[in-house]
């Protein structure tokens, strides 16, 4: 007989059961990992490579001392009194926002609070440097200066590849001069040589035969690596009192003339030269490549872009070191030391700290992590942003001279990152559960766009706007991240798991504002929670969270 054997239906049944079993198993696994009651006791793991002796070496401490002395001298001369020391948690918040674009999580705060006071900042930095969020965040900020935020010419440009590459190099703490040279002198295909996207982003989509655009590249190099707005004299000599001439810019552009597109990607063609018609002239003329200052540092040998890259990053070309210091400073203070970020005088008087940090950067082979550690160790980075005294409030003069920590608006990605982190008791990093990572990925993009991403001008100071307030008050992100959701949201977990009202309020404050409530705040919110049970408690906690996320303090670095 050819009939189907009776065993088959049984096997089919088993097949039918397996997906269900696997699915239920996975659900239990996910729910188990998510729902394991995580409360306030578990601190985040310690960094792997923290060496307190190294971070407190006499040499390191001496440089910090010089920095402090130079700034304190200016305060004395201006007769300005510094604000008091900020609490360690506030400093940690600044570092997390500046270097990862988000807040410290509750478990990270617990870990921080276990550290001895004298090493807490450097310990925290070591942990951040080991976190991929740090390099990803810095890579994106640098990329904005190198290539902007637009997608660029699709066929020859892959922005995300370049950002990934930058992140990997920053994670390795690759010397910044080496990294910069690779960008300026990049060759090859944009997919396999991610650094080459610095060059290909300038290709005109409508005229790919023209190859990389010398003018755009010269503009990028002068601003991103030299802190000079040389492109301002692209069309004519400086008539605003500066000494730059139109030829300075185009002679710099001429270094990029050999770069062309080929089957093997970007490569140099020595025969290609740069021609330009100067203002007031009738004809195009051949432009000889020349650097705009310190010509003696330009190597005599090598391909044009290779020579330019070496000149830009030459240890005696301080413009490069100052620009690097200014960018890292801007990340950490949310405000550059010299404003605007890409317009630093080549000579003259610099704000206190600039020359010491620039010299140290050169002396320590462009070590970005050391630069960050130095800035974080200064007295000014650890000052409060308020005098905490209504009789003697912080003055503009105080803030201008960094005698109080400058209060600056958080950028959209920092606000989004903060909302998402504040609504979780766990750290949302590369180790976090996939559910949180996916949630973060999807929720952040839309929020940033609507909050108002200002692209490359992200360090320009701007005030709050009505659409931002509407988004925070009524938008989807805040609603979803503070709503009743025992799996995902800290507000619900706190409402159900906190042992008492006082610790509920304190935990919410730590998650959202990285501080404990004042006595008045504690009493106010404890009163609201008093006696409220069951689902109503979730609502009160949701309201508390909403209020913390909509307070001025949440959206500002301070």
């Amino acid at each position: 007989m050819n009939e189907v054997p009776p065993a088959l239906p049984v096997r089919n049944d088993r097949r039918g059961i397996w997906p269900t079993v696997v699915f239920v198993g996975l659900c239990l696994l996910v729910a188990g990992s998510v729902l394991i009651p995580l409360w306030t006791s578990k601190p985040a793991p310690a960094p792997k490579n923290f060496n307190s002796a190294q971070q407190q070496s006499p040499e390191f401490t001496a440089v910090v001392g010089q920095l402090d002395a130079s700034i304190e001298k200016e305060w004395r001369e201006a007769k300005v009194k510094p604000a008091p020391q900020a609490p360690a948690l506030m400093v940690a918040r600044r570092l997390s926002l500046g270097l990862t674009g988000t807040l410290p999580s509750l478990e990270e705060i617990r870990a921080l609070e276990e550290q001895p006071q004298e090493q807490v900042i450097q310990w925290w930095l070591t942990r951040l440097f080991e976190d991929r969020r740090y390099s990803d965040y810095l890579a994106e900020r640098f990329a904005r200066a190198y290539v902007g935020v637009e997608n660029g010419p699709f066929l020859v440009y892959r922005r995300h590849r370049m950002v990934d590459w930058l992140s990997t190099e920053i994670q390795k703490n690759r010397p910044y001069d080496e990294l910069s040279r690779e960008l300026i002198n990049a060759n090859g295909i944009w997919t396999t040589q991610p650094e080459v996207n610095f060059i290909t982003v300038t290709v005109d989509q409508n005229d790919k035969d023209k190859g990389p655009d010398e003018v755009k590249l010269a503009g990028r190099v002068s601003r991103a690596f030299l802190g000079v707005r040389l492109d301002c004299v692209q069309c004519h000599d400086d008539f605003m009192g500066g000494s730059w001439e139109q030829k300075n810019f185009h002679e710099l552009a001429a270094f990029f003339a050999p770069a062309e597109m080929s089957l093997t990607g970007v490569r140099d063609n020595k025969k290609k030269q740069y021609e330009f018609r100067y203002h007031g002239k009738m004809d195009d003329e051949l432009v000889t490549p020349r650097v705009p200052f310190k010509p003696e540092l330009l190597p005599k040998e090598g391909a044009l872009r290779e020579r330019l890259a070496k000149w830009v990053t030459h240890p005696e070309n301080k413009a490069f070191a100052r620009t690097t210091v200014n960018r890292i400073w801007a990340l950490m203070f949310n405000r550059p030391l010299v404003e605007p970020i890409d317009d630093i005088p080549l000579e003259g008087t610099y704000p206190p700290g600039m020359e010491i940090l620039a010299n140290d950067l050169v002396a320590h082979h462009y070590d970005l992590q050391r630069l960050i550690r130095l800035i974080a160790a200064t007295r000014i980075f650890q000052l409060d942003s308020t005098n905490r005294d209504n009789e003697h409030h912080v003055t503009d003069g105080q803030e201008k001279l960094y005698a109080s920590f400058p209060v600056t608006r958080l950028r959209p990605e920092q606000v989004a990152g903060s909302v998402i982190q504040a609504s979780s008791l766990r750290t949302i990093d590369a180790e976090a559960h996939i559910l949180w990572q996916v949630t973060r990925f999807f929720q952040q993009g839309d929020f940033v766009k609507r909050y108002g991403d200002i692209g490359e001008d992200e360090f320009n100071q701007r005030s709050g706007t009505v659409p931002q307030r509407l988004l925070m008050m009524n938008g989807k992100l805040v609603k979803e991240r503070s709503d009743e959701n025992i799996v995902m949201n800290a507000s619900s977990r706190i409402a159900s798991l906190a042992p008492d009202d006082v610790s509920a309020v304190e935990t919410a404050y730590l998650c959202a504002l990285t501080r404990r409530p004042t006595e008045q705040e504690r009493n106010y919110f404890v009163e609201l929670l008093n006696g409220i049970k069951g689902k109503a408690r979730f609502k009160v906690m949701e309201d508390l969270y909403w209020s913390l996320l909509n307070a001025t303090e949440f959206s500002w670095n301070h």
Binding site: N206, H392, T395, T465, R469, N474, E521, S547, T552
Partner: protein, 432 residues
């Protein structure tokens, strides 16, 4: 147990107790962006007798082809088959497809000789919207931001500078600050995002009270005018609540307009945007930009431009007619154009490329002369200089002048440099 107020439905502006929420937000009186004293002083500065009070910009992003819209040359080889039609304005033709606009062209003027030095979309858009070429040292404000700054409206509770269907580069506040950026919104068929409270009035009131407790702690040791001078956080929150609870916000909702009136604009998001623009200026909004994107026709120019013209024609014609019917045309300047025009010659892909050497901006209303055609482009498409060229900055100076704003007024910018609102010249022949 859930308390009764927690179960209350919420979601529409009608539910809000305006007085309660405004009180919770600490508002004594509403002023949009500008303190009252400054408002009065600025108002006094506006020249008496200037009829124009608002501007509607129909922004054709991508660079519309002048030859397929307002400046056809039907008998020339550069037409490549584009036909022209007669209009209500003697001696002025429009490209076929703009039949409804042709009927009301008598109520408009055409500047067919606009020239710009920018051939890149982003730079040219910046140039057209601000009247200045991009300059790395300073971010110039868009014309809407200038008007909002110079003509503050004490009675307005919604943003005075609005961009409907914003493209890639919506109008910015420039050196006036982010508060003057255009308020961006999408197709008016959809409700405005984030405008509805997600909880009951009572809960919202409690939330606002809690915010003030947290803010009070944060303000300790800071300057008393910290919010006004620095963050504008509380002020923005107050304005946001003012907007959420204002009847004026209904101007965005075109579903309240009878169907026939709505359909006159065309059943498109752009058409609905134009209708919303009329309703917004009626409420006192200073500048509304409505974007119709897609004019960058490097391939299949005629087909793509034709499709866009079908959207533009009913919307533009209905907008002018509607403004006139509502007695708003006298006080509303309407401007229709893009960042540049397109090349007289077709490229091998039958597209037209960028052409900033003579393109058209259509204008009307608010003291702008009607029935004028200014300038002319070369019918053969060979000359790069049109007759009677009009520079982008001159259009700006003219619009500001018509609004009673001294275009030469210098603003001390954040970098300490005084900059004129416009460095163009007023085009006298465009003024009524």
């Amino acid at each position: 147990m859930i308390s009764p107020e927690m179960n209350q439905s919420c979601g529409t502006a009608d539910h809000f107790s305006r007085r309660t929420l405004l009180k919770a937000a600490g508002m004594a009186g509403l002023t949009w962006l500008t303190p009252l004293g400054q408002l009065l002083a600025l108002d006094a500065e506006k020249k008496k007798g200037s009829p124009a009070q608002s501007v509607i910009v129909l922004w054709l992003q991508g660079g519309p082809s002048q030859l397929e819209t307002f400046d056809p040359h039907p008998n020339s080889p550069i037409a490549y088959g584009t036909k022209a039609i007669k209009t209500s304005l003697k001696d002025a033709q429009l490209a076929a497809g703009l039949e409804q606009t042709a009927d009301i062209l008598l109520n408009m003027s055409l500047v067919r000789s606009v020239v710009s030095k920018e051939g890149d979309h982003e730079r040219a858009t910046f140039n057209m919207k601000t009247g200045y070429r991009p300059n790395p040292t300073i971010l110039y404000p868009s014309i809407g931001a200038i008007i909002s700054h110079e003509l503050p409206n004490q009675k307005i509770e919604i943003p005075t500078h609005i961009s409907i269907l914003p493209g890639q580069w919506p109008a910015r506040g420039g050196y006036f600050g982010a508060a003057y950026d255009a308020f961006k919104t999408g197709d008016p068929a959809q409700p405005l995002p984030d405008l509805s409270l997600r909880v009951s009035d009572k809960r919202q009131e409690q939330r606002m009270k809690s915010v003030s407790v947290v803010d009070q702690a944060f303000m300790q040791g800071r300057q008393p005018d910290f919010d006004a001078k620095k963050t504008l956080h509380q002020q923005s929150m107050q304005n946001a609540i003012g907007m959420m609870t204002s009847d004026q916000v209904k101007a965005f909702d075109v579903s309240q307009v009878p169907l026939a009136e709505r359909l006159a604009y065309g059943d498109t998001s752009f058409g609905r945007g134009c209708l919303a623009a009329v309703r917004l200026v009626e409420r006192g909004v200073r500048c509304v930009e409505v974007t119709l994107n897609g004019w960058d026709t490097h391939t299949n120019n005629h087909e793509s431009q034709g499709a866009l013209v079908k959207t533009l024609d009913p919307a533009l014609a209905a907008l002018i007619a509607d403004l006139k019917r509502r007695d708003l045309l006298d006080r509303t300047i309407v401007l229709c154009g893009g960042e540049f025009g397109r090349t007289p010659k077709l490229n091998p892909l039958e597209g037209r490329d960028h052409w900033p050497h003579g393109f058209t901006v259509a204008m009307t209303g608010g003291g702008i002369q009607t029935g004028r055609v200014i300038g002319a482009t070369d019918p053969k498409g060979e000359k790069k200089e049109p007759e009677n060229p009009v520079h982008v900055e001159d259009l700006h100076a003219t619009i500001l002048h018509a609004l009673g704003i001294n275009h030469e007024k210098e603003i001390i910018t954040p970098i300490g440099r005084p900059i004129a609102l416009s460095d163009g010249k007023v085009i006298r022949e465009l003024l009524a």
